[in-house]
């Protein structure tokens, strides 16, 4: 029977892939179904050879173990702060479940974790409860931020700009090309930095926080912001000039214009030093 029967390449590939994606046969799909009739009712031994040292099943098992281990490892690399925050075991459970629901469809492993934060949101244990626990919010926010840093690091942008200095006229100040201002419900910047610095931060309490992520000379840097600064910088990011951003901050956020004139020189000096600004050319 199966001995002399060929398997079309496409059927074989569908069969093997199903054996990798569902090694324990937990889904409804019977992988043997895609093989020719002579294989129905047969086992994987009708496809894979035994060898001197290993039965066919063990040969396939090498691929099955490697498939999940490789992708788990990649998820842990993309979300290392989250893995620390959740603990290895819980993270691994989430990652495995995510990979089952969202098997990779990109040639680029960079995209593997693209939907992970959404997945965590969709599957949070208290999704339908009116009263939500805090920790899932924190984990989701951390996941989103960690993935965002990966994307920002690789983003296509002009890096040949002239950084502004003390003498740059105010109307020529523009944000550098790779600049993002984030709002969080938790001290995500603090937690992430502590983790990256090799400290062991505990899960923080909820607290509105704001931070800037900038890329200069292909390296990222993070800075804390206050709410006024966050809105102001976002107005600048939308393309406005300093005076336009000032107007919008007062008009839309109710920021007191007198107070703004007081703090602006301090902001400006600090941000020029931190390299937020380039010279408009």
């Amino acid at each position: 029977m199966a001995e002399s029967t060929n398997i079309p390449l496409s059927s074989f590939q569908q069969w093997m892939q199903q054996m990798l994606l569902d090694p324990h046969g937990q889904t409804e799909v019977d992988p043997m179904q895609v093989l020719p009739g002579a294989f129905q009712g047969g086992g994987l031994e009708s496809v894979i050879n035994d060898s001197k040292r290993l039965p066919a099943r063990e040969h396939l098992a090498i691929y099955q173990r490697s498939y999940i281990a490789r992708l788990r490892d990649c998820m842990a690399k993309q979300f290392s702060a989250l893995e620390y925050a959740l603990g290895e075991e819980l993270f691994c459970g989430f990652a495995d479940n995510y990979l089952e629901l969202y098997p990779s469809s990109s040639y680029n492993l960079m995209n593997l974790g693209a939907h992970f934060a959404d997945y965590l949101e969709d599957t949070r244990p208290d999704k339908d409860d009116p009263l939500k626990e805090e920790w899932p919010d924190f984990m989701i926010e951390l996941a989103r931020f960690e993935y965002a840093t990966l994307i920002i690091f690789e983003e296509q942008a002009d890096e040949d700009f002239v950084l502004a200095g003390d003498q740059t006229p105010e109307e020529e100040l523009r944000l550098i090309p790779v600049f993002y201002a984030f709002y969080f419900q938790f001290p995500i910047r603090w937690f992430y930095s502590e983790f990256v610095n090799g400290n062991k931060p505990g899960m923080p309490y909820a607290q509105d926080t704001f931070c800037a992520v900038v890329r200069r000379n292909y390296k990222l840097a993070l800075f804390d912001l206050n709410p006024g600064q966050y809105y102001f910088l976002n107005y600048l990011k939308e393309g406005g000039s300093v005076s336009e951003a000032k107007q919008l901050l007062c008009k839309n956020q109710g920021f007191d214009s007198g107070k703004l004139e007081e703090v602006w020189p301090v902001w400006k000096e600090k941000w020029i030093e931190q390299g937020f600004f380039r010279v408009d050319s």
């Binding site: 590939q13 691929y63 990222l220």
Partner: protein, 310 residues
């Protein structure tokens, strides 16, 4: 100097470009003959990795080595992928572009593994047709590597060396002979690695790979995480003689050591090339019990954090 039919140059002894070594290479400009880069790590990168690569191609010859072409796949060829691969090749001007005899996933799923192709007339025709399309599209020869395999199939009818030989004849593509993969596959699938080498058309070999592997007792995993073993050096010596000299690269993807340690392991190849291998210290096979992952992911991610000011 060139000894292959494709007229591709012998670049000498090269190393895989790893992000851990970026700064060392840029600052020290070490005397390495050439570098091999994983295409997928740069195709969509417009940040530091690509910026570093641009500086490296100014100083060193570079070869692009891919893991996602999926030449044996029955899904249609991914022209979005090919377009980006071609764009990177046009920008970096590599000595050649290579990938593996494998498939990576069907029905739009990607397993990110180098999965084995059953070797028979159908798959040979399928692979050759696709190599021809890719070569036409890229406007350059493709170089195909023998992968490490962990299974063989009842409906395979052609030994791998014969498959590779017919494939190069049909398509004029080049071969990247990974002697570590020959050893790993031969151990896992009961064939004689020397017979394998006897069947290889050496005038098509434009490059060789060396790497370390992990012996798990009754099977071997291609981990690229340690020194090259004695058996693999021996196969390298045999293959080297047959090629008459060809570009040779040491792969190292897990537990990546300091640059100098990596380079020193590569330079051991010189002793085997000259035949004076009795004095050299090479590691014996050792059984390991720790479970390893086949075909390491070659994926760079940690750099984002290494390059972070926090």
């Amino acid at each position: 100097m060139t000894t292959n039919k494709l007229n591709l140059p012998d670049l000498g002894l090269g190393l895989g470009l790893r992000s851990q070594h970026f700064n060392h290479i840029l600052e020290q400009q070490p005397e390495v003959d050439w570098f091999e880069v994983i295409s997928e790590n740069f195709m969509d990168s417009f940040g530091r990795p690509r910026h570093v690569l641009k500086q490296i191609v100014e100083r060193y010859p570079v070869v692009m080595h891919g893991v996602s072409l999926s030449i044996g796949n029955t899904d249609p060829l991914d022209f979005d992928y090919l377009k980006k691969l071609k764009a990177l090749a046009d920008e970096m001007n590599p000595a050649w572009v290579s990938d593996h005899l494998c498939w990576t996933g069907v029905l739009t799923t990607n397993s990110h593994d180098l999965l084995p192709v059953p070797l028979n007339e159908e798959s040979l025709k399928h692979v050759c047709d696709r190599i021809n399309i890719v070569q036409d599209y890229l406007q350059r020869p493709l170089v195909i590597e023998n992968p490490s395999t962990y299974a063989s199939f009842r409906h395979s009818t052609i030994p791998e060396w014969e498959f590779l030989s017919s494939m190069t004849e049909e398509t004029d593509c080049g071969l990247l002979l990974d002697v570590n993969n020959v050893y790993v596959s031969s151990f896992n699938n009961d064939f004689d690695p020397v017979e394998y080498l006897e069947g290889i058309p050496f005038d098509r070999v434009v490059q060789m790979h060396l790497a370390g592997h992990q012996n798990c007792g009754n099977y071997i995993i291609d981990t690229h995480d340690r020194e090259v073993t004695k058996h693999v050096w021996e196969l390298f010596r045999l293959a080297w003689q047959r090629t008459g000299g060809t570009s040779t690269l040491l792969e190292w993807d897990g537990n990546i050591p300091a640059f100098d340690v990596y380079h020193a392991e590569l330079l051991k190849a010189k002793e085997f090339m000259s035949g004076d291998f009795n004095g050299i210290k090479s590691v014996e096979e050792e059984d390991q019990v720790v479970e390893a992952v086949s075909n390491p992911i070659h994926f760079m991610v940690s750099e984002t954090r290494d390059q972070l000011e926090v």
